[in-house]
Symmetry: C2
Subunit: 188 residues, 2 copies
C-alpha cells in the first residue's frame, strides 16, 4: 500500500449541492453551490463560499439575507442549470415557485424539500471568494417530508457532487448510525 502524490486540485470529498437564493436589484436569483458547510451550532450558522464575480453574491451584500434550498434528485437538471447561467444575463426568477419568509428578502424555492432563510452575520474574503456566514432564522419543509414531526430523509431524495468526475450522485443505503456504531470499539 504505497501512497503517491497526486495533483492537489484532485483533492475533495462528497459535497452537498444547494441552491442559494438572493434578491438582486429586486428580483429573485438562484445559484448552485457545493462549497457550503455548518460553521456554528448555536445559533446555527452556515458558511457558503461564492466567487466574487457571481451575481447572487451582489444580492447577498445588498440585502444582507440569503436562502439555502436543498434540492431533491427531481431538481437535478434545474439545479445544474442555475450553475450554468448567470443572473446577470438570464432571468432565473421564473425557474421555480418562489416564496418569502420572515426576512422578506430571501427568496426560497417551493419545489425544494428543505429551505432556510439566513441573515448575513459576517463575510470572510479571500482574493477571489466571499465566504458568507448566514445565521439560519427560519426553516421550511412540508408534511410529506416529515415522519412524526421530524424531517425524514428517506423522503427527500437528496444528492451530492463528487469530484473530479463532476458527477451528481444519488444517496444510497445507510451503513450505520453516527455517534453509535463506533461504540463497539471503545475500550472500557
Amino acid at each position: 500500500m504505497d501512497k503517491i502524490k497526486i495533483d492537489t486540485g484532485a483533492f475533495g470529498f462528497p459535497m452537498p449541492v444547494v441552491l442559494i437564493g438572493a434578491n438582486v436589484a429586486g428580483k429573485a436569483n438562484f445559484m448552485a453551490v457545493a462549497w457550503v458547510c455548518k460553521v456554528n451550532y448555536k445559533p446555527l450558522i452556515i458558511g457558503a463560499s461564492i466567487n466574487k464575480r457571481q451575481y447572487t453574491g451582489e444580492g447577498i451584500i445588498e440585502n444582507e439575507t440569503f436562502s439555502i434550498n436543498v434540492p431533491g434528485t427531481y431538481l437535478v437538471e434545474l439545479t445544474d442549470h442555475c450553475g450554468l447561467v448567470s443572473g446577470r444575463n438570464t432571468d432565473k426568477s421564473e425557474l421555480f415557485d418562489v416564496f418569502y419568509g420572515d426576512l422578506k428578502t430571501a427568496p426560497m424555492v417551493k419545489q425544494c424539500p428543505l429551505c432556510a432563510e439566513c441573515k448575513l452575520v459576517d463575510t470572510y474574503s479571500t482574493e477571489t471568494n466571499n465566504f458568507f456566514h448566514g445565521e439560519v432564522v427560519s426553516v421550511y419543509s412540508e408534511e410529506k417530508y416529515l415522519s412524526e414531526g421530524a424531517l425524514d430523509n428517506s423522503k427527500t431524495d437528496l444528492f451530492v457532487l463528487v469530484m473530479p468526475e463532476m458527477n451528481y450522485i444519488k444517496l444510497g443505503e445507510p451503513i450505520g448510525k453516527a455517534w453509535e456504531i463506533g461504540k463497539k470499539l471503545v475500550k472500557d
Copy 2:
C-alpha cells in the same frame, strides 16, 4: 404544497465525513469532522469548523498544520469511534497506519484512499468554534484508486452523513454530470 416552519436545528444537507489529523504534544490524533468545505480554489483552501473544546484543535494551533483524510465505507466504524472518544483521554495514534508528508507534522491515515496535508493559513473564531482555513500543500492517494492517472471515485467507496437521522450513507448511483445536464434547459 404548503410549506411549514420546522425547527431550525433540523436544517441540513448531506455532509462529507473526514478524519482530521493533527499532532498534539508530539502524538498523532484524529477526529471525525462533517463541518468541512472548500473555501478557495487557487490556492485550494479548505475550511473545517471544530469546537474549541476539541483536543485536535490544540494540535492545529500548536503546529499550524493538519491533515484531511477521506475514509471509505470500510473505515466507518473507526471513523465514528474517532468522533466518540477524545484524544485528551484516549491515545488514538495507534488506530491507523500513520504517515507524514512535506509538512512533517500533519499525520495522515494510510488506510484512507485520499489524504491531504494542509498548512493553517487563517482561523475564524466564533464563541464556540474555530473555523480553520487550511491550504492544501500535498495530496496523496494510491494507484488502486486511480484510473488513467486521475482519482476514480468508483473505487474509493465514500460515504456522507445525513441529519437529523445521524445516518452514515453510502453513495449511490450517478444521476448526471455537473455543468452538463442543465445545458438542455439553456435557451439560445
